[in-house]
């Protein structure tokens, strides 16, 4: 067994442990031990990966292992990681770890579903087989329904249902896209790397077929990545979800979308990506601005952050579609950064809501005086969100913009400039929110009595802030790690790029 499989095994063991655990104490022990093990594993993997890479391991995927699973259908249990998945695993490890602390008082069933969700996420990132990716993708989705529906707030049933159905609808598109790719490449292998490199029995997918299946695959993953106009599950879903679930969802689950778009849609269908990217570029660029502008007038903190996520995640897809190595590196960085800062945001919003029983911007006031720790954390999350240098958002956004600018035609330029405006709008809504809820004087006597964060909440918040600042201050290694893995994909796109005529009307 490959050690990457531990990422799936540990959650399984955790599920087993939770099943056995009796008291709250036992549950917490299982969760803390398990999530720490996952985080430790992710960190160890990162270190090992970097040292192996610098030691000369040049294969596209490292630590690959493959066991035939469904032999007649050429489905195998294949794992392997490249820099992108390593980064994503690290992110997931951090979010799951902190999520555990944030949901300290929850019951056993909650943690069962929570762990199942984590399993799906980790499994997705270690897989290199399309079937496995799809399976883990769905494993990660369905616990959301119960997590939101049972432990959520507000219109939880409606939101949970909407979220589940929209994402499952997306997976319908996705499944078809996967079939299309699999059979288009000859139906001999589900392995992503093999299909991309035309090895293991796979051949080049016809251009016309690529153009059919690209939209399916891209939309399939794009919905999870909150692509405009399929993003509407996100505000409701996030608003109703319990704190740690929002964190996990916005922090990790939405990243599955971007990762999938990159790993499957762009990687396996390079010619179609070249040909059709303009349609999705328009959509995502619209989404970037649209999400930001919508966020300006929201009154519910979670809605506000959800729309801001729409904007930021739109940026991820936007950057991927720019089809340059730098922009795609930026996209992955943006995934990391958005994952962390949004998790932090949701964590703190959840803590505030838990105490003040409202998330309405108009009713919260002067929290800085009452709960200074939370407020400072909130402000840091906000600043990261608006792209303050020294925090992670800046690094990601700048990489994206510089990368997008590598496309020298007017069409891409205009869209890039459009996307850059979002950082101004981000400043508007973030500062408006900070100004309204943290500053000023508290008017509500109810809120005057609320207490600041507990130790476990503080621990989670501090962990996240450290990660955000860490990436923000020392992004070089991460960027290097990612760009080495992004390069083969983009090179793949670029080499086919000049073979086909550019039928894009804007070019």
């Amino acid at each position: 067994m490959n050690f990457l499989s531990l990422f799936v095994l540990i959650p399984l063991l955790m599920l087993f442990g939770l099943w056995l655990a009796k008291e709250q104490k036992g549950i917490r022990t299982v969760m803390v031990v398990g999530s720490s093990a996952l985080l430790a594993l992710a960190i160890a993997l990162t270190l090992k990966f970097i040292s192996d890479r610098s030691g000369g391991a040049t294969a596209e995927m490292l630590y690959t292992a493959s066991f035939v699973w469904f032999e007649p259908l050429h489905i195998s249990y294949s794992v392997g990681v490249d820099g992108i998945s390593v980064a994503m695993l690290l992110l997931s490890g951090v979010i799951v770890f902190t999520g555990t602390f944030v949901s300290w008082d929850m019951c056993k069933e909650y943690f069962l579903w929570f762990t199942l969700l984590s399993m799906g996420v980790f499994g997705f990132f270690i897989s290199v087989d399309m079937f496995m990716m799809f399976m883990f993708y769905e494993i990660a989705l369905i616990p959301m329904y119960l997590l939101i529906g049972v432990w959520g707030s507000g219109h939880k049933e409606y939101s949970a249902m909407k979220l589940t159905l929209m994402l499952m609808g997306a997976s319908a598109f996705l499944m078809l896209g996967i079939f299309g790719i699999f059979y288009g490449a000859g139906g001999q292998t589900m392995n992503v790397v093999d299909i991309a490199n035309h090895t293991g029995g796979a051949h080049i997918i016809d251009f016309s077929k690529q153009c059919i299946w690209f939209p399916f695959t891209f939309i399939g993953f794009g919905v999870l990545g909150a692509m405009f106009p399929f993003h509407t599950w996100s505000p409701d879903g996030h608003a109703s979800a319990p704190t740690a679930v929002s964190m996990l969802h916005a922090g990790v689950l939405m990243k599955l979308g971007g990762y999938g778009c990159f790993r499957i849609a762009i990687y396996l269908l390079p010619e179609a990506a070249n040909e059709l990217s303009w349609i999705f570029l328009i959509l995502t660029a619209t989404g970037v601005v649209y999400g930001a502008l919508s966020a300006c007038v929201q009154t519910d903190l979670k809605y506000l952050n959800a729309y801001s996520s729409v904007s930021h995640c739109g940026m991820v897809l936007f950057a991927i579609l720019m089809l340059t190595t730098t922009a795609s590196t930026g996209a992955i960085l943006q995934m990391l950064s958005h994952g962390l800062m949004t998790a932090l945001f949701f964590a703190i919003i959840g803590m505030i809501y838990h105490r003040a029983h409202t998330r309405d911007i108009r009713q919260l006031n002067g929290l800085m005086r009452i709960v200074p720790f939370l407020s400072v954390g909130f402000a840091i999350a906000g600043l990261a969100n608006l792209g303050l240098p020294g925090l992670s958002g800046f690094v990601a956004e700048m990489t994206i913009f510089v990368g997008s600018f590598e496309n020298a035609d007017t069409f891409h330029r205009i869209l890039t400039i459009m996307a850059t405006t979002s950082i101004v709008v981000a400043a508007v809504y973030i500062l408006r929110m900070i100004g309204k809820i943290l500053y000023g004087v508290n008017q509500n006597p109810e809120h005057a009595k609320i207490h600041d964060a507990h130790w476990e909440e503080r621990f989670a918040v501090i962990c996240l802030i450290c990660c955000i600042a860490g990436i923000g201050m020392a992004p070089g290694w991460l960027s290097e790690l990612i760009s080495h893995s992004v390069a083969p994909v983009i090179d793949n796109v670029k080499t086919v790029g000049h073979l086909i005529s550019q039928s894009n009307p804007f070019m």
């Binding site: 469904f70 007649p72 494993i139 369905i142 049933e157 249902m161 319908a172 299309g180 139906g187």
Partner: protein, 488 residues
């Protein structure tokens, strides 16, 4: 005539033996004054015997003699390992149904006879055996009727229940109507081809022959009635609702599964020259089955009626494997059947124990079920997720594979429509999950202990749902069988 040919029908003969033993046992064990021992024996005997019989016919699968294909009576009877496998699957389902039935049959307030239930059920099973192993339309017809006539009695089993009688009436009337048409269709085939042997028919068909095309449609309608495909499905909901829950479970899985398998084999073996025609027919039938059933299911409150529509839609997915008539389709159909069986029976098991213990069969009654009966509702959730095709449960794998097969056969649009429909189906399955977990109720179903027979059955189903997909050798084994000339 060589009477030793009868001995070639291992499966059927052994099943008949079981029926005879049970018949005798029923005579002696189900008297007015039955002792504790006798009662217990009567509970254990059917399942036990069927298990033995299953083991017996499964042993042929494990160590097949030759290629495992058996022909008897000049081709009237034709059995292959794949068919035996399907029989084993159906047997397992029947065992689960027997385990499920025990509590219902034992309760004095239900006023039902015990022994007949097993006999009738096994008779229908025998009918299905013959239907599957038939090599001639006569055999097929007899098998089909043997599968449906005792079924009527089963549906009307609770004789002082008006709903049960109404359900049976609707079932038998529609069955008669459909068998009349089917018979007419077979007569047209006979009239145009002069033979009814399957292996002779294929070369006699002509796609320009109107009568043969009519016969094709009539055949599909007859078998479509059994599988309850739209537009031959209208009896389904009423019958499922009215029939005793155990019978509904049996009806929704066993008879449906057998019929779907037969549909594949006959379409492929007999109507091979008309493949384009029946592809079109099946295409539309599948689209309508899935869509209409899903739309109806959305608004149901009675859980049995709800499961009826779910079953119609599942039947639509099941026959996706028929499309194009590929070996892969065959594999995934049988696999789907197996997975669907465990999941659906799992749901029915829970519906049944709940009904037996609280008398409640509405979805709204399940509000707050999780609070009172967490284990049952958890298992129900697993089964529903499996039905909806959520990983890592077996249903995901079966759905994925059957879609894959249909896609590979060249029907991407159909697959897309089916996929979109999975969203609706997920919606209504989640409605039950929502009722159990999320909704609050003033008077939830009180905590109860299910009987040990049901418990065993539930465990079997749960294991099947959880491991049926992950353990890939199941699919692999089916695939090996279906690659032996499509398992026919």
């Amino acid at each position: 005539m060589d009477y030793s040919q009868f001995l070639n029908m291992h499966d059927e003969i052994s099943l008949i033996a079981v029926i005879v033993i049970l018949f005798l046992a029923d005579l002696f064990l189900c008297g007015e004054h039955k002792s504790e021992m006798a009662s217990k024996a009567m509970s254990l005997l059917p399942s036990g015997l069927l298990l033995l019989q299953t083991a017996y016919i499964a042993s042929a699968l494990i160590c097949p003699c030759g290629n495992g294909i058996v022909d008897a009576f000049g081709g009237m009877y034709h059995n292959t390992p794949m068919m035996t496998l399907v029989k084993v699957v159906l047997n397992i389902g029947t065992i689960i149904v027997f385990l499920m039935a025990n509590n219902w049959l034992k309760r004095p307030e239900n006023q039902v006879k015990e022994g007949e239930f097993y006999l009738l059920t096994l008779s229908t099973l025998l009918g299905m055996y013959y239907m599957m192993s038939s090599g001639h339309f006569l055999m097929f017809f007899i098998g089909l009727e043997l599968a449906s006539i005792p079924m009527t009695a089963l549906i009307a089993y609770t004789k002082n229940n008006q709903e049960s009688a109404e359900a049976a009436a609707k079932y038998i009337l529609t069955a008669l109507f459909s068998s009349g048409l089917l018979l007419y269709g077979i007569s047209l085939i006979y009239g145009t081809c002069g033979t009814m042997y399957f292996n002779e028919l294929a070369c006699k068909f002509d796609t320009n022959n109107t009568l043969q095309l009519v016969a094709l449609v009539l055949f599909i309608s007859g078998i479509g009635f059994k599988i309850s495909l739209v537009p031959f499905h209208l009896w389904t909901a009423d019958t499922y609702q009215g029939a005793p829950t155990t019978v509904t479970g049996y009806l929704s899985v066993i008879s449906k599964g057998a019929a779907a398998f037969v549909l594949f084999t006959i379409l492929f073996k007999v109507f091979q020259p008309m493949i384009e025609q029946w592809d079109i027919i099946m295409l539309w039938i599948i689209i309508f089955s899935i869509t209409i059933a899903n739309i109806f299911a959305v608004r149901q409150n009675n859980i049995k009626r709800f499961m009826a529509f779910s079953a119609i839609s599942q039947a639509g997915y099941l026959v996706l494997g028929v499309m194009g008539g590929t070996a892969q389709g065959m594999t995934s159909l049988v696999y789907y059947l197996f997975v669907y069986m465990v999941a659906n029976l799992g749901v029915f098991l829970i519906i049944n124990v709940t009904e037996q213990n609280s008398g409640k069969i509405n979805i709204s009654d399940y509000n707050g079920f999780y609070q009172t009966n967490p284990k049952l509702s958890f298992i129900m959730t697993l089964c529903l997720f499996s039905l909806a095709g959520i990983p890592p449960f077996a249903g995901f794998f079966s759905k994925f594979f059957i879609f894959m097969a249909a896609f590979n056969a060249g029907f991407p649009v159909l697959v897309f429509i089916a996929l979109v429909n999975t969203v609706i189906s997920l919606y209504y399955y989640l409605l039950i999950v929502k009722a159990m977990y999320i909704m609050k109720s003033n008077e939830p179903i009180a905590l109860f202990k299910s009987d040990s027979y049901s418990k065993i059955a539930i465990v079997i189903c749960t294991l099947g749902v959880v491991f049926g997909g992950i353990i890939s050798c199941i699919y692999g084994y089916i695939d090996i069988l279906s690659n032996l000339s499509y398992g026919m």
